[in-house]
């Protein structure tokens, strides 16, 4: 098995060494390898097809560079195209003109929302803000307590007026948290919500009501980097059901290639803003499109 795209392409081009130019047949052979590499990285099939078609076109129209061999030239095109999609208008959190700034977290079960709430809180605090974490997951067993512990570790405020475990109305908690923040002089509100499936219409409506009641400045879709082909369905469901402003990719400390990042960025056209890479508060970074491109390609 080839480990990296570079190895794959080198093998494809071995027979062509000495040729002065890339032929259409070379490009076809190469793009077949790229297709496999992307699929093995969990890029969505439809996205792969589009992407490969785009690369083909660019490769055919491109000028030959004397400094690079054919494999390197194609990799360069692929890499640039990936970074372009992943990095389209990368930006930081938009703060409200009139505090508090409201950040709502949404995503599938177990993606890393509650952990992220703590990380965002700690990071914003270090930037001079005064964040309040809001326990609006009243469903998952002991989610409220988990958020309380996380807030304590991050040394930020927490609003948890309901015990959870099925008791309390998450929409009301979220709505009330805004007043609570104003009175307590918190300038950023981070709302932790229950994990939900894209196909769960009732839960999607609940998320949409939380959003209506709190008018977030940022609604962040939190997604596990290990997710496979379903990433696109799920991202579309959250985009349609809730509306997404940005994406956070979690568990990047593993060895998943994370092709879902490309699928999601391409299909919903929202920037990936942050990368979560560990279980501790400080395991958190802004997203780097170039690193992600290399990772997807296995380079």
């Amino acid at each position: 098995m080839f480990d990296t795209l570079q190895d794959r392409l080198a093998a494809t081009f071995k027979s062509l060494r000495g040729k002065g130019r890339i032929t259409d047949a070379d490009i076809d052979a190469t793009t077949r390898e790229i297709r496999v590499a992307l699929l093995e990285a969990d890029v969505n099939l439809a996205v792969v097809k589009d992407f490969v078609a785009g690369v083909k076109q660019k490769a055919k129209g491109s000028e030959l560079s004397k400094a690079l061999n054919p494999a390197q030239q194609i990799i360069k095109i692929v890499n640039e195209e990936l970074i372009d999609i992943l990095g389209g208008d990368t930006r930081f959190i938009r703060f409200a003109k009139q505090p508090p700034t409201v950040i709502m977290l949404a995503g599938l079960q177990g993606a890393g929302k509650t952990t992220l709430a703590g990380k965002l809180g700690a990071w914003l605090k270090s930037e001079g803000h005064s964040p309040l974490l809001v326990a609006a997951d009243l469903q998952r067993p002991n989610a409220v307590q988990q958020l309380q512990v996380v807030a304590e570790r991050a040394k930020v405020g927490v609003y948890a007026p309901q015990p959870g475990n099925g008791v309390g109305d998450p929409v009301q908690v979220a709505r009330d948290s805004i007043d609570h923040a104003r009175h307590g002089l918190f300038d950023v509100v981070i709302i932790d919500t229950a994990g939900r499936l894209g196909v769960d219409e009732e839960m999607m409506r609940q998320a949409s009501r939380i959003k209506e009641q709190t008018r977030p400045d940022e609604t962040l879709f939190v997604v596990d980097a290990m997710i496979g082909q379903d990433a696109v369905n799920t991202a579309l469901a959250f985009e349609q059901g809730v509306g997404i402003d940005g994406v956070v990719l979690t568990k990047l400390d593993g060895d998943a290639r994370g092709g879902a990042a490309l699928s999601i960025a391409k299909v919903i056209g929202r920037p990936i803003m942050f990368a979560s890479n560990g279980e501790k508060l400080e395991d958190f970074d802004v997203f780097h499109p170039d690193r992600m491109a290399s990772r997807i390609l296995g380079m």
Binding site: D42, G110, Q146, I227, Q229, D230, A231, D253, A256
Partner: protein
């Protein structure tokens, strides 16, 4: 030659269906290739017939004949011990809760061991599950050594004469050597008290190709005996378990279908294949 009369669109559909379920590029290629050959040999050119052959090929891969029962054998005076492992957030704690429910309904006495001493409120979460399903939970202090908590749970199980001890462990990425060593230690320490008859790897159905790497590494460390495929109530198909089953030689035993106490079911190969092929 008949296979050639099935048009490219049909082959593309087959391929798209299999890839989109996370079956993987190589298994999909193999399956489609073997299907092409069979169609040629049997002279089949009707897409409907081709599809039903695809179904039976896929079913063959999933292997309906595997024994998917939970191993609860135990010596007199010792409980059966089930260790539940996996990467972060896949549904381990929830699965322990649901399995407890299933076993209690079966008339067995059960004890939970909360060997996730790391994640915030993990032991509380398991205790809540225990309260829901009528099972007691043995816990340690936050930050306590997980192996000693697991040991204490099995020890309690012996003293109380329970049938089964279910041990929940912290989520850990297979890339973290220290955490994987810790998991190996949990199992070794428990086995000083009683053999661990089942090690269930909990895989999330949304997981892509990384699931295979996860399974391999966990299997090296704690010798997986069964797979639980969770979150199949979503739109993900969980196709990666086909490679995992084949690679590890261990069956998927249960599926998770929701967040409620009764949302655990035995794995059914036919239903799984129907889920992938969309019938």
């Amino acid at each position: 030659l008949s296979a050639d009369r099935i048009d490219d669109d049909t082959w593309d559909d087959f391929e798209a269906t299999l890839i989109s379920s996370d079956l993987g590029v190589a298994p999909t290629g193999e399956l489609v290739e073997s299907l092409r050959q069979k169609l040629r040999v049997e002279g089949i050119s009707d897409p409907g017939q081709a599809k039903s052959l695809l179904r039976s090929e896929l079913l063959g891969l999933v292997d309906p004949g595997l024994d998917r029962g939970l191993n609860l054998d135990h010596e007199p005076g010792q409980p059966a011990v089930v260790l539940v492992v996996g990467v972060n957030g896949t549904g381990k704690t929830t699965t322990v809760g649901k399995l407890g429910r299933m076993l209690v309904a079966d008339g067995r006495s059960v004890l939970f061991g909360a060997a996730d001493t790391f994640r915030a409120a993990a032991a509380e979460q398991l205790t809540t599950w225990g309260d829901r399903v009528g099972v007691e939970t043995v816990r340690g202090e936050e930050g306590a050594d997980p192996a000693s908590v697991a040991f204490a749970a099995v020890d309690q199980g012996i003293q109380r004469g329970v049938d089964v001890v279910l041990v929940d462990t912290a989520g850990r990425l297979h890339t973290k050597v220290g955490l994987m060593d810790e998991l190996g230690k949990v199992k070794r320490v428990v086995e000083k008290k009683a053999p661990v008859g089942e090690v269930l790897l909990v895989l999330d159905a949304t997981t892509g190709q990384n699931g295979l790497t996860q399974a391999r590494v966990f299997s090296e460390v704690v010798d997986i005996t069964g797979i639980v495929l969770t979150k199949l109530d979503g739109s993900a198909k969980g196709g990666i378990v086909v490679q995992v089953q084949r690679d590890l030689g261990v069956p998927v035993k249960f599926i998770g279908l929701g967040e409620g106490v009764d949302d655990l079911a035995p794995f059914d190969a036919d239903q799984f294949v129907d889920g992938i092929l969309g019938d």
